[in-house]
């Protein structure tokens, strides 16, 4: 600043001189003016005042000038100080220049020092040359030329041995993750394997550092049934490089290795699972399964055939910075409880996901039992052969087993259905049923091949089978045609699937109906007309009805006056009621003219425990005599009546008849035993059953050919004819076989007709 400040100078003397000069000149001017004024005209003469003023002005100006000059002169006393400061400034500048030069020279000196260093001598090569007279390896700097350096043959073995020792030592000091199942060292190469996931070959010597690992080979062991997944060469190299680099800086290199490769395997596995599920969803299992990706922040659902738009979370994509391997949720049995609500969470599902510890776990939505082990089902994914369909099928089989087991337990509690241990049985059948899914070959998986069904006894050896459809999870009922009409089975199945009734109720109803059907068949065989619902309408008083399942049989040789009502009570024992109905021509007031229903006028319970069988030729009614008399009076009179006689000797009881039939001890061996449970009145349709033929005919002439008895006169019925035990008292006979009465054809020309 001093340099800048003091640049332009002016001499003080000059200034003073000029100031003085100017003042003098100004004065002279004044004088001139006044003199000119004086010499000139009088008119131009300046007045005194003016002169004064001029003079004063001059004085003032001069004074100003002088004052300034004075200040300047005073200031000039500081000039030496100023000079000194300027000197200092220049000194400082020179110092600064010196410093700059010093800095520069230091910098260059530093450069020079580098070159002043002693050179690095290749001591190891020198020693080698001294000792052996030649050198095996060129110096390291020559490596950049690019010639390949391999060991000589004789050196190979010991070197490999040394390397193996080194590798082993390093493995001992490194922390090996516990998931690594196999670690072995051969020829300097460490083989590290995790079962079912990957296999890596390692050695030491990453970029010349002998404490760092190098990866020689990576192989993945996860795969599908086509074999393990193949890593491409380039990808393997890139992956290997990256892992090597990370291992070099990590404290636990093997842990890092494991983590990275494990995560890779898990991703592969999940990808495969998702892909397989998608294939299944569009292929065999279309509309039968539904899959959903499960992850932290958001879900994306894909269903059946249509793709719902994926919902994106805040990050926008699945693989964002907070990437977690997504899990998969597979719903099966989609129709279940799908009662109008869009909520699909009620169908069972399998969740396959990678948990926190990066292990893949398959979970089922509910507790299911494995039929083979009777313990909780363990759905595990075999990583080396990933098969999602197998998992699904296993889950379905276990779920089916569990459900059937539950129903079995429920049924067993009910004494109407389960009276012996073999009444309700869970069976595994080798034979596949038509109603279930077509069997697909699966190696070594038994559950698929065996279709489990719950076998519930109807009666005797007839069973009703309850199965579960693999695809839909719905119940399937099946029974032999002769015990139940198919429509009844289908209706029950539908009701069961809609969950409108419980399985217990279904089976009770089906059992009832089957037994009633058996009765009906028997009745038809005996010539009784079985009425189905549409054929007849009867107004039956509700007090005698046990339920809605009952059978009405009529006697065709009577004009619709009497009906036999047959039903089962709460213990599934048959209960018979005789119904009397007024018909046309009789008391019309009893007929409901609005509907066609015939009103039951009288009814009487028939207690078969006390039923007596008529003996000898006479067609005896097996009912109370008293009753018979009552009825008799209502009859038109028929020749059969006369055959009713009270004087029948000891009538054998119903049970004794049966005993005879079945070959048990009889009351009177000579008696012919009749079995008839369809004749309250005089039509004596009796089927003579017995050891001996019955000679006399019985029955009114109007009996038609449908009846057996006319031809059974000479019938010899073998003792193999039996009635089902349920017709007797409480399961006295355990071995019931045939459900219909049959007569050996060889002995008689009887015509069997079933209406």
């Amino acid at each position: 600043m001093a340099g800048e400040l003091g640049q332009q100078t002016v001499e003080l003397g000059t200034v003073a001189r000029q100031a003085a000069e100017e003042s003098y000149l100004a004065l002279r001017e004044l004088v001139e003016k006044s003199r000119a004024g004086a010499e000139g005209e009088v008119a131009q003469q300046r007045s005194d005042t003016e002169k004064k003023i001029d003079l004063l002005k001059f004085i003032d100006r001069t004074r100003q000038r002088m004052l300034r000059l004075h200040v300047l002169a005073k200031w000039c006393q500081q000039v030496p100080l100023l000079h000194y400061c300027q000197q200092l400034a220049s000194t400082l500048s020179s110092h600064e220049t010196c410093f700059i030069q010093t800095g520069d020279s230091l910098f260059f000196m530093h450069e020079g020092l580098q070159q002043a260093r002693a050179p690095i001598f290749d001591v190891s090569s020198a020693i080698e040359v001294i000792h052996t007279g030649s050198y095996r390896r060129l110096p390291k700097s020559v490596e950049e030329i690019g010639t390949q350096n391999t060991l000589f043959q004789d050196e190979r073995k010991p070197t490999l041995k040394k390397l193996s020792t080194l590798v082993r030592a390093k493995l001992l000091e490194t922390l090996v993750p516990k998931e690594m199942s196999e670690v072995s060292v051969t020829d300097g190469i460490a083989n590290v394997q995790v079962d079912g996931e990957f296999k890596v070959l390692l050695t030491l010597g990453y970029r010349g550092h002998f404490s760092l690992w190098r990866i020689l080979h990576i192989e993945l062991l996860v795969g599908e049934n086509t074999g393990p997944i193949k890593l491409e060469e380039t990808r393997r190299y890139v992956l290997g490089d990256d892992i090597e680099r990370r291992m070099a800086v990590a404290d636990n290199p093997l842990t890092i290795l494991y983590t990275i490769l494990h995560e890779l395997c898990i991703s592969f596995v999940m990808d495969t699972v998702i892909r397989q599920t998608n294939v299944l969803r569009q292929g065999r299992w279309k509309e039968a399964i539904k899959s959903e990706l499960v992850s932290d922040s958001h879900r994306s659902a894909g269903q059946g055939g249509n793709n719902a738009p994926t919902q994106l979370g805040q990050d926008g994509e699945l693989d964002s910075s907070g990437f977690r391997i997504p899990g998969l949720k597979i719903n099966y049995w989609l129709d279940e409880r799908n009662s109008g609500s869009a909520e699909s969470d009620s169908s069972p599902f399998i969740k396959v996901e990678a948990l926190q510890d990066m292990q893949i776990k398959c979970q089922h939505s509910s507790f299911v039992l494995d039929p083979l082990t009777d313990k909780e089902a363990d759905l595990s994914l075999d990583l080396s052969c990933i098969d999602v369909e197998a998992i699904i099928l296993k889950a379905i089989a276990c779920n089916r087993h569990t459900r059937l087991l539950e129903i079995q337990r429920e049924l067993k509690k009910n004494t109407r259905i389960s009276r012996s241990p073999t009444d309700v049985v869970l069976k595994r059948k080798e034979v596949h049923m038509d109603v279930l899914q077509k069997r697909v070959d699966r190696r070594g998986f038994e559950n698929c091949c065996t279709n489990e069904v719950l076998q519930v006894r109807a009666y005797g050896k007839s069973y009703i089978h309850l199965g579960i459809n693999i695809r839909s999870g719905g119940f399937l009922l099946q029974s032999p045609k002769n015990i139940l009409p198919p429509s009844a089975v289908l209706d029950s199945e539908e009701a069961l699937n809609k969950r409108s009734i419980t399985p217990t109720e279904v089976f009770v109803s089906l059992k009832t109906r089957s037994i009633l059907q058996l009765f009906a068949a028997t009745g038809r065989f005996l010539g009784v007309k079985v009425y189905s619902e549409c054929q007849i309408t009867l107004k039956i008083p509700k007090s005698i009805l046990y339920g809605s399942d009952f059978m009405v049989m009529g006697f065709p040789w009577r004009t619709n006056a009497y009906y036999l009502l047959m039903q089962l009570d709460d213990n599934l024992m048959p209960v018979f009621y005789l119904l009397e109905v007024h018909i046309d021509g009789e008391d019309r007031s009893n007929i409901d003219t609005t509907t066609d229903a015939k009103e039951v006028v009288r009814f009487n319970r028939i207690d078969i425990g006390q039923m007596q069988l008529g003996e000898d030729e006479c067609i005896a009614n097996l009912l109370d005599v008293e009753k018979l008399q009552v009825l008799q009076s209502m009859e038109d009179g028929s020749p059969g009546h006369s055959e009713i006689d009270e004087s029948l000797p000891l009538k054998p009881s119903f049970s004794s008849v049966v005993n005879a039939v079945l070959g048990y001890e009889r009351d009177s061996p000579s008696k012919e035993n009749w079995l008839s449970y369809s004749s309250p009145s005089t039509h004596l349709s009796s089927q003579k059953v017995g050891r001996q033929g019955v000679s006399s005919r019985a029955g009114p002439p109007e009996l038609d050919d449908e009846l057996l008895h006319s031809n059974i006169d000479t019938a010899k019925v073998a003792s193999g004819v039996t009635l089902d035990s349920y017709l007797l008292s409480n399961s006295k006979s355990a071995n019931s076989t045939e459900t219909s009465v049959s007569v050996p054809a060889g002995d008689h020309p009887s015509k069997l007709s079933a209406c």
Partner: protein, 168 residues
């Protein structure tokens, strides 16, 4: 300002000259003042003194001029400008001083930095090359002692005591 007795001599004339010029200016100022008084209160009696004074003024101006010839003090233009502007010319002086001080501080900082670098370097050198550093120290000490003696002989105070500059 270092006042050294012997060194004033060449300056003296200029100083004297300056003093003379200043005196002349002062006289002029005084005369002008009196003239002013005269003129402003002019009466016929004051004609003569007026003329006398005028003459005196002219004479003084002349003196001043003559004196001014011997004056060769250089005055920076800034000062003249300052005076013309009516400001204090000492401001200029002050600015010069301040800039000087600032520069001094800067250079001092650099000096200190170099000193610490030297110290650090010596420490490292001692660690790396102890023998060489020792040799260096000895050389340095010898030369320092020599230069100290030289400095002492040059800067001896009148009473014989040596001026000691703190050695680093």
């Amino acid at each position: 300002v270092q006042g050294v007795a012997g060194g004033d001599r060449p300056e003296d004339p200029s100083k004297q000259n300056l003093a003379q010029v200043t005196g002349s200016i002062q006289k002029t100022l005084g005369l002008l003042h009196q003239l002013n008084l005269n003129v402003s209160s002019f009466s016929s009696a004051s004609q003569l003194p007026l003329l006398q004074r005028l003459n005196a003024l002219v004479a003084e101006l002349d003196t001043m001029q003559k004196l001014a010839d011997g004056c060769n003090i250089q005055v920076p233009m800034e000062v003249v400008n300052l005076i013309d502007d009516g400001k204090n010319p000492d401001e200029f002086t002050r600015d010069v001083l301040n800039s000087c001080i600032a520069k001094n501080q800067i250079t001092k900082g650099k000096t200190d930095a170099f000193k610490s670098l030297r110290k650090h370097l010596l420490e490292e050198l001692e660690e790396a090359f102890p023998d060489d550093a020792e040799a260096y120290r000895q050389i340095r000490a010898t030369s320092a002692a020599g230069s100290k003696r030289l400095a002492q002989s040059q800067s001896a105070l009148p009473n014989g005591d040596a001026k000691v500059k703190p050695e680093h």
